[in-house]
């Protein structure tokens, strides 16, 4: 493989982890990401191919976990598919092979910074950041929202577990917003 040494979205060699009180913010650099959008009129083909390939295509506002592929809905007939970076760095090529011409597939891995948020209860943090009713939505809820002017995807894995995808170029600003809110909330 190439000799180039990657930098994280925060400009470091290793993923960043921050702890404040009960909250841990962990940068995830080990996730490969690609968008999958059904070609016009090809949803049935896509569903069949996806099922065969083990790529979940959950319904609106939903994340579905799987191995190696997990996915969350982002728009009508469009999903973001996650997979381990170590084995699926070429996620777009792998999905193209699996799903054929029924979908338009685009690598999104480095378009985003991913943060895992962990605490006993994330509601006090998230209510200071976005207008998602975090306590009320079910586990596996995935939505697009805005935090400190930044468009982000928020995926709820539990009352105290969530993943956030934010624009990679603003990773430092987003982390700052998370930390500031954490100091306010906890």
């Amino acid at each position: 493989m190439a000799s180039l040494q990657p930098l994280t979205a925060l400009g470091k060699r290793e993923a960043t982890a921050v702890t404040h009180g009960p909250l841990t913010i962990t940068e995830r650099t080990d996730v490969a990401l690609a968008s999958v959008a059904a070609r016009k009129g090809r949803m049935a083909d896509l569903s069949a191919a996806a099922q065969k390939a083990g790529v979940p295509l959950p319904g609106p506002a939903t994340h579905q976990a799987g191995i190696p592929y997990s996915a969350f809905w982002v728009a009508p007939e469009m999903w973001f598919v996650e997979a381990p970076h170590a084995t699926h760095e070429l996620i777009a090529d792998l999905l193209k092979s699996a799903l054929g011409d029924a979908a338009s597939i685009t690598e999104q891995t480095d378009a985003w910074v991913a943060f895992d948020l962990a605490a006993t209860d994330l509601a006090p943090l998230l209510e200071r950041l976005c207008n998602v009713d975090f306590p009320a939505v079910p586990n596996g809820y995935a939505t697009r929202t805005v935090m400190e002017h930044l468009g982000v995807y928020l995926v709820k894995h539990g009352p105290g577990a969530a993943r956030l995808y934010g624009p990679r170029s603003s990773a430092e600003s987003l982390l700052h917003a998370l930390e500031t809110a954490a100091h306010s909330a906890f």
């Binding site: 493989m1 400009g11 950041l129 170029s169």
Partner: protein, 979 residues
């Protein structure tokens, strides 16, 4: 002075003593005190000066409606003006100062205004400062501003932080008095998600200020028990110190939580306040009612207070405002004050009851049919003059007077959607109208239900109705006294001033004057007299003012109506509205993949939207930006330069109709572009004006990668989505932004290919990768990458892209492996120099007013197909042969200076608009040519090549003779480009 006016009882913690100062004098109070209650406990009645006449004033209320007792809290950067002493929670070390007085509160030189009051009636400013016109800004306004006004600001930056947040609930209960508590209890026990918000630091509302029982307990104890139950419910959120400031659309309410105002400074990392946006399924307004005074001569002296406030200070705070107290009332609630004060051992010397008949209070001098007609006492009340029912007058020595003119339901929140309250003659007050914000119910005194029982019942019933509940708690026993009131708005007596709106010094006389001058509409009355403006928004004065106007005009009160209620309910700190968006955190930054490398080099950054782009990279010894930029440009044209162009928008366009889609959004054709090629594209708006430009590459049969300008990356994407979703939903096209996914560098200069060959794994010779080629490659031993042979500099140039995480490494690798070519990293300034030298358009030319024809790109608008903007770009006005055309410009004298924004004028023409020939859009210094060069739009410019004109900028003092030249000022044949 040690709390000379403190009496027994109250909800204060006497085991702890808090020290504070007012105007530098030390005092003591207790936890549970407000600044006002603590000052009153220390015998201090004088707390401020009035707005216009600088009259001595004390508090008239015990709540957020306070018009008078406005003080400056704290000192230094945290000094806050116009804070109501009646709601400022006491803390140890609090420093408060009076405001709007000089040199001191007791002796205020501006008190002369009071003597000159005859000149300062309503409309005074409008009539007096009309002429000469020029005096307004320099003379009149500064004088008025100094003389009038409230507190002062420090002009220091606010050191505190403010948060914004979002809350969701089934039911928002606004106000935690008996109605609110009962509503919250009902909904809470039913398992609903409830937010109970109250502006006070102690919930319970009037229950804390009354001696009335609820069930077997005192009202305060019942409230405490309910609150304890609510606090234990996981589905219930109690928000004290939280004012719901407005009802907005779709069940959204604004609320300000004062997290740290009761502390000397906020705890580390904690905000001072939070502005909450509350998404409520339903809401109940249970905000209680506000007592109103009665207007009579000199009714504004310190010591004259709302009767309910006098009672609250005694019952809740253990404070007697005076030693000898009288009550002036037109309703039974005033009687309650007299009884409570007497029970507290206060000497109640008289009850002046304007109602002609009624029961007599045992043991208290109770004068029916009597009115207070005047008072005395310069800095505090000394006597009142009473006119008895038989016309006899009597002067009574008192140092406190409680006045009750009835209670106004707090309808504000219910009226924020312009719902007009309706007049209820039974309680002589306005109650919420039939049409409030959807989903908002009203309960308790806010709904005109004035007894404790009615408050409890309507609170419970509102919760049942709002949430469609089947079961509900039993109601505790509580008083259910009717409202017995005989309206009295002002006392007809004498020619002195009787205050209605104490904050704005509006008197009965002013209302009469407004009526006399035909400002009889309440909205005109407000603006003419300033009634109901400023921090209290007329909470105590508005209804009296409009009732007096009704009486003067012979109209009924309902016919007269109220002014419009608008948010916020109480004043909101500007910081709370700003939240975290201030200073460097005003907006998020976007950092390029080369940011960290550039920072190491000491690069200068420029903000481009949210991006921080490298503007230039100074080397040691370079003291001035031009040195760095000239070096970067010369080095690039001599050998090779690298520029981070990640910021340009990248949009992945896929689908079987991708080519056809691009044909429709671009003015030129893309469906014919071969795979592996890229093409410059021009995108028009519907009106035919150029929207954006960029290159788009065809990476596969059904896969294109579009680039946009940095500035329009988002707007172009949004536009394309609109086209895809709304204009042509039948097309098979999928879009996604990949701007951030790829780190992209321009590599330009005669040695660009040689440098790239050091990192690219494939053959990129001219034959294998010709001009305008595009494709997927690998670099540095297998990393996926993209290469585009495009040039913005006029040099042999490529743009190479790798996944963003490898961008930093690729840059370092190119610099290291290509060291033999002495590569330079250049910034946006050098980029600009080279593109102007080549005549490429950018922001200055893509100005939202220019067509392709203007830019010399008219032929790019294909007539063989339809595309957005194509038809309208052919409009007569846009195709004028002598319209603006892009030209190059150079000074005739190489030392001549140019500047963007200069206008073209013929030699000898006067610099007036009629002679304007166009303007310079972009200007740079060309180190190759050795002089300034510019691009510009010149009328008929394409026919003026070679002519001499002037570039005139009156602002910059420039009038330079210039030669009009081709915009292609460097290597016009493009020899270097094709390398």
């Amino acid at each position: 002075m040690t709390q000379s006016h403190r009496i027994d009882g109250g909800l204060i913690d006497r085991t702890k003593t808090l020290r504070f100062t007012f105007d530098g004098i030390p005092y003591q109070g207790h936890p549970g005190d407000t600044l006002a209650s603590a000052l009153l406990a220390n015998g201090v009645r004088l707390m401020g000066r009035s707005f216009k006449y600088h009259r001595p004033r004390g508090p008239i209320s015990a709540g957020s409606e306070e018009p008078n007792a406005l003080v400056e809290l704290r000192t230094g950067a945290r000094q806050e003006p116009n804070t109501r002493a009646t709601v400022a929670e006491l803390f140890d070390g609090l420093e408060a100062n009076s405001q709007n007085r000089w040199p001191s509160l007791r002796f205020d030189a501006m008190g002369i205004n009071d003597k000159l009051s005859a000149f300062f009636a309503a409309g005074f400013y409008y009539k007096t400062f009309m002429w000469p016109k020029s005096f307004w800004e320099k003379l009149y306004e500064p004088i008025i501003r100094r003389a009038a006004g409230l507190g002062s600001v420090t002009r220091e930056e606010d050191p505190d932080a403010y948060d914004k947040g979002f809350l969701h609930c089934d039911l928002l209960v606004i106000g935690a008095g008996p109605a609110g508590l009962m509503a919250a209890l009902t909904a809470g026990r039913a398992g609903k998600r409830v937010i109970l918000a109250d502006e006070d630091f102690r919930m319970g509302g009037r229950l804390n200020a009354e001696t009335l029982a609820v069930g077997d307990a005192s009202g305060a104890d019942w409230a405490a028990a309910v609150l304890a139950e609510l606090a234990a419910m996981p589905n219930l959120r109690l928000m004290t110190r939280t004012t719901v400031i407005g009802a907005f659309d779709h069940g959204i309410y604004g609320a300000v939580e004062r997290v740290s105002d009761h502390l000397p400074t906020p705890a580390k990392g904690k905000p001072r306040q939070i502005l909450w946006r509350i998404y409520a399924g339903k809401a109940i307004l249970s905000g209680g009612a506000t007592e109103r005074p009665i207007a009579f001569e000199n009714n504004d002296r310190p010591g004259i207070m709302l009767a309910g406030a006098l009672r609250a200070y005694a019952n809740r705070w253990g404070v007697k405002v005076g030693e000898r107290v009288a009550v002036f009332t037109n309703n039974d609630d005033g009687i309650r004050t007299a009884l409570d004060l007497r029970a507290k051992g206060v000497d109640v010397v008289a009850v002046i009851d304007s109602r002609p008949v009624g029961d007599l209070l045992p043991g208290i001098r109770h004068l029916h049919g009597a009115e207070v007609i005047d008072t005395s006492g310069k800095l505090g009340l000394k006597t009142i003059t009473v006119r008895q029912s038989n016309g006899a007058t009597e002067t009574i020595a008192v140092d406190a007077l409680g006045v009750s003119g009835g209670w106004n339901p707090n309808v504000n929140i219910h009226s924020h959607h312009r719902s007009r309250p309706v007049y209820d003659a039974g309680i002589a007050a306005f109650v919420p109208g039939p049409e409030g914000p959807p989903g908002l119910l009203v309960a308790g005194a806010a709904a005109g239900q004035m007894s404790t029982h009615a408050a409890l019942k309507t609170g419970r019933d509102a919760a049942i109705a709002a949430l469609d509940l089947g079961t509900a708690p039993d109601l505790p026993q509580a008083e259910d006294a009717p409202v017995r009131i005989s309206p009295l708005w002002f006392v007809h007596h004498g020619k002195g001033r009787a205050w209605i709106d104490q904050q704005n010094d509006v008197t009965v006389k002013d209302v009469k004057l407004a009526k006399q001058e035909n400002f009889t509409s309440v909205e005109h009355l407000k603006r003419y007299t300033t009634l109901g403006m400023a921090t209290d928004q007329g909470k105590t004065g508005n209804v009296i003012g409009l009732a007096i106007m009704a009486e003067l005009t012979g109209r009924s009160i309902p016919e007269t109506g109220t002014t419009i209620y608008r948010p916020p309910y109480t004043p909101v700190a500007m910081g709370a509205l700003a939240g975290r968006s201030r200073g460097k955190e005003f907006k998020p930054f976007r950092l390029t993949p080369s940011h960290h490398w550039a920072k190491e080099q000491g690069a200068i950054f420029v903000e481009v939207g949210n991006w921080l782009r490298t503007q230039w990279v100074p080397k040691q010894g370079e003291t001035e930006w031009r040195q760095s930029v000239d070096r970067e440009v010369l080095a690039t044209r001599k050998s090779v330069g690298i520029c981070d162009v990640t910021t340009l928008g990248k949009i992945d366009v896929q689908g079987t109709d991708a080519g056809a889609f691009l044909d429709r959004v671009y003015a030129n054709t893309f469906s014919t572009l071969p795979v592996g090629k890229c093409r410059y594209g021009l995108m028009l708006r519907e009106d035919g004006i150029v929207f954006d430009d960029g290159t788009t590459a065809r990476m596969g049969e059904h896969e294109y990668v579009m680039t946009t300008t940095t500035a329009n990356a988002v707007t172009v994407f949004r536009h394309l989505e609109f086209c895809r979703q709304c204009l042509w939903p039948e097309m098979d096209v999928q879009l996604i932004s990949t701007t951030e996914a790829w780190a992209q560098f321009s590599v330009a200069g005669p040695n660009a290919r040689k440098l790239l060959e050091k990192v690219v794994d494939q053959d990129i010779s001219d034959a294998a990768f010709p001009y305008m080629g595009a494709g997927n490659i690998t670099v540095c031993g297998g990393l996926r990458a993209r290469l585009f042979r495009i040039s913005f500099s006029g040099e042999l140039a490529y743009e190479i892209a790798v996944p963003t995480r490898y961008g930093d490494a690729l840059l370092r690798e190119m610099l290291a492996r290509g060291a033999e070519f002495d590569p330079v990293v250049y910034g946006t300034e050098s980029l600009g120099v080279m593109r102007v030298e080549k005549g490429h358009v950018a922001g200055g030319e893509l100005n939202g007013q220019s067509t392709a024809l203007n830019m010399g790109l008219g032929k790019m608008v294909s007539k063989k197909k339809d595309s957005i903007g194509m038809v309208l770009s052919q409009r007569e006005g846009l195709t004028d042969e002598n319209g603006y055309r892009l030209v190059g410009v150079k000074p005739v004298d190489p030392n001549g200076k140019l500047t963007a924004g200069s206008h073209f004028l013929e030699k000898g023409a006067a610099p007036v608009a009629a002679n304007d020939g166009g303007w310079l859009t972009s200007k740079v210094y060309s180190p190759h040519l050795g002089h300034d060069i510019a691009l510009g739009y010149l009328k008929g410019g394409d026919k003026k090549i070679g002519q001499r004109m002037r570039a005139v900028n009156l602002l910059a003092g420039l009038d330079t003779e210039v030669e009009i030249i081709s915009p292609h000022m460097f290597d016009p044949e493009g020899v270097r480009l094709r390398g």
